[in-house]
Symmetry: C2
């Protein structure tokens, strides 16, 4: 393979979800479609230049504050703690949550040498210490690292007079009980909802 082509394929395989075959397909596509290549290059540079962390919640923003922290109609007494900016986008799509967010920027992972100081935990504690916070919802992923991170943050928050909650675990919509894994079923029992007391 030509060196310049190989370099491009290598660079593309570094992206998440892109294997060797897809990388090759994208590389040839970019070489054929100059405009797409141009738009991509400009968009990457532009996004890297303009987007920075919101000083309050560490979500990505182009402005001084992110649109959620700057929104006076949101409930600023409730903070939903997530791993990544992408999680904010996902949760916002439910239109169920009206509070604000705090982006940790990852999860605790001793294997990858990521400790509490590598995450935006101290800024969360500062927000809570400043007062005015009623509830912190821990919305890290239901993975080993996500659970460990939620547990760590929970212990850090224990000295403050606030409610700390974790997103419910249970059966995902549309999944048959026969297909659900045993851990999900166990969690569905644990977090079961009382229908008799309103």
């Amino acid at each position: 393979m030509e060196k310049a082509l190989e370099q491009l394929v290598t660079a593309l395989t570094e992206l998440p979800g892109i294997g060797e075959k897809t990388a090759l397909r994208i590389a040839f596509f970019l070489l054929r479609q100059s405009r797409v290549a141009e738009r991509l290059t400009v968009a990457v540079a532009n996004a890297r230049e303009k987007l920075h962390e919101c000083p309050i919640c560490q979500n990505l923003t182009e402005d001084r504050l992110c649109s959620i922290c700057a929104d006076g109609s949101r409930d600023h007494h409730t903070i939903c703690v997530v791993e990544e900016p992408a999680d904010v986008l996902t949760l916002e799509q439910t239109h169920r949550y009206r509070g604000v967010y705090h982006v940790l920027g990852g999860v605790l992972s001793p294997i990858d040498n990521i400790g509490p100081r590598d995450l935006n935990i101290s800024t969360l504690l500062e927000r809570v210490a400043t007062g005015g916070i009623a509830e912190v919802i821990l919305a890290t992923n239901p993975t080993v690292e996500g659970e460990a991170t939620a547990s760590y943050v929970y212990h850090q928050l224990q000295s403050y007079p606030i409610k700390v909650t974790r997103l419910a675990r249970g059966l995902p919509t549309g999944v048959d009980i026969g297909i659900a894994d045993l851990d999900t079923l166990s969690r569905a029992f644990d977090d079961r909802r009382d229908l008799t007391t309103p």
Copy 2:
């Protein structure tokens, strides 16, 4: 979503095989990993600058001629006709073919307004007309467009005293007869190999 982020996601979804979710994941990854973003941008620019078509076979190359056309040890009397440069890479991986190639740059597709003049067919005819060619192997894909293109090229080549062949159709290795589609099975009958006459 922030505008710069949305532009990046849109640019990424233009790439083949990249849906909205993967694009979002890649976008956030590129914003976090400056070095990967840098390497990608440089690799795209570099590949677009350095790679051009080989004047003989229209494969992509960094040099004057592609490495296959420039290789004196290859059989320059046999030309394998393929749709795209990617096909050359794939066929080379078999190490079965020792001839040279001709890249059409696509397939005939009336729907997309792609006719014979949009493909590198005249340059193929010139190569054959110059003489010294014994066989042309038509290796376009076994799709409707690929077959139509092979058929068109075959008719264009009929006036020359050369052998024109098409890659065999049949059962792919490792696939059970019960799983193969009926067209593949029919082709496997048509192209069946005589084991008794050597």
